[in-house]
């Protein structure tokens, strides 16, 4: 009977979305759609930083493209009065992530920093997570990839090169976060300061549409953005509680 008692006593704990009482850091990104021009500089930066392969024409024709970050493009209105809407889309690091519940080997899980981790060594390639992801931001390695000379020389040594049969996705540039944390510890400081970590996309964005930081620090740039009345999360109705917050585009012509 104690098993049932135990279960009932911990009912609320089991029902809590996510595994943590409190995150250590809560890494968050905001995307200001009013600033984003859809230039795709962030996409390129991401591809270079994270050793994302160029899959080639055939693979793309079969829907096997790999880009941890992509710009979704929408046209609004009729020609000649058309408007371009560009929305950068990448892993939303949901705090109640559907992909995490479905992985049979826990290769994707939530870590104490509010990050949705993807462990390539543990992944067995069932692709269930990609099916469950409402944002379609998980990419599967259908093949081993190679980098022609001299492109192999530009591979980032801080990021592993993934093999055939594993799932991959945006990590919020975990290698940079880790480096900043190591540096903070080396300095004897306890916490990473605001502005010390910048994922490749944030660093590259020419219009500073992307802002990255720790939500738990009330003075961080990202916390300031969260208070903005334009803030929303994509597919809010699914209750995934994403860590990426978008700021609505301001339309001059709108009523």
């Amino acid at each position: 009977m104690s098993l049932i008692d135990d279960f009932l006593a911990r009912w609320h704990e089991y029902r809590r979305p996510g595994y943590y009482e409190e995150f250590d850091y809560h890494w968050t990104m905001t995307v200001d759609l009013d600033r984003c021009t859809g230039c795709e500089a962030c996409v390129t930066a991401c591809q270079a930083e994270n050793n994302t392969p160029i899959v080639g024409e055939d693979a793309i024709a079969r829907g096997r493209h790999m880009q941890w970050m992509r710009i979704e493009r929408y046209w609004e209105g009729e020609y000649p009065d058309v408007k371009l809407r560009a929305i950068p889309m990448f892993c939303q690091h949901c705090d109640a992530a559907p992909c995490e519940t479905v992985c049979p080997v826990s290769a994707t899980y939530h870590n104490q920093d509010g990050l949705n981790a993807q462990i390539y060594n543990r992944c067995i390639g069932t692709r269930s997570c990609a099916v469950y992801c409402p944002y379609e931001v998980r990419y599967f390695n259908y093949n081993n990839h190679h980098w022609d000379e001299p492109l192999d020389q530009q591979l980032n040594p801080d990021v592993s090169v993934r093999e055939k049969g594993v799932m991959e996705k945006c990590t919020f540039c975990i290698q940079r976060i880790r480096q900043a944390k190591d540096a903070a510890k080396d300095d004897g400081r306890r916490r990473v300061q605001d502005g010390e970590v910048q994922p490749a996309c944030v660093q590259t964005c020419p219009t500073e549409a992307l802002v990255f930081g720790d939500r738990k620090d009330p003075d961080s740039a990202v916390s300031q953005m969260l208070g903005n009345e334009r803030a929303y999360t994509v597919l809010e109705e699914l209750n995934t509680d994403p860590s990426v917050v978008y700021l609505k585009k301001v339309d001059a012509d709108a009523a």
Binding site: N111, V159, S160, Q175, R178, D182
Partner: protein
């Protein structure tokens, strides 16, 4: 009427032969592999002896492997570092003359890496040195080795055990080491 075991044995004979040949093959393969691929104790291009340097003369590890204190990679000392002493010490030994030749030709010595972690592991030497870990805890008693042998199994269990024992903050989170 007794039941003879002989027909059963006759059926099993080929199985036994296959198993025998397989076993012999395994033994030969094991020793041949160890002979041709001395993975854990590679023969270095110059027979550098840690026994002499770190053992007898008690030169601290970090005197030569100075990068271990500052960078994720422990690094191998440059030929310049060797010549710092050997410009005056034991200059007529054939091994030192070999080192001097590399120095004069501006060539690095092609040392063979003994402890080679897989590429998907992030192991910052500087953090571990800062935490007060002795090099020997992972690398074994290098100061007694003439030819360095890989002592660490380079397996995840070793990292996890230590991270648990030392109560490293979030030490067993996958992303602490995996990249």
């Amino acid at each position: 009427m007794g039941v003879s075991i002989v027909p059963t044995l006759r059926v099993l004979k080929p199985v036994g032969m296959i198993a025998g040949v397989g076993f012999v093959g395994l033994l030969v393969g094991y020793f041949a592999n160890a002979a041709f691929f001395p993975g854990t104790t590679p023969v270095q291009p110059i027979e550098f002896s840690h026994t002499v340097h770190a053992g007898d003369y008690e030169i601290p590890c970090l005197y030569c492997h100075t990068q271990a204190r500052r960078s994720p990679s422990a690094g191998v000392p440059s030929v310049n570092k060797c010549m710092g002493c050997h410009a005056i010490v034991a200059t007529d030994s054939p091994l030192i003359r070999e080192v001097a030749r590399h120095y004069e030709n501006d060539e690095p010595i092609p040392w063979i890496k003994v402890h080679d972690l897989p590429d998907f592991v992030h192991f910052p030497h500087n953090r571990h040195v800062a935490a007060g870990l002795e090099c020997q805890e992972c690398h074994g008693p290098v100061e007694t080795m003439d030819r360095v042998t890989r002592m660490a199994p380079n397996e995840m269990g070793q990292c996890l055990t230590c991270h648990k024992d030392m109560e490293v903050e979030h030490g067993i989170d996958c992303l602490t080491c995996h990249k």
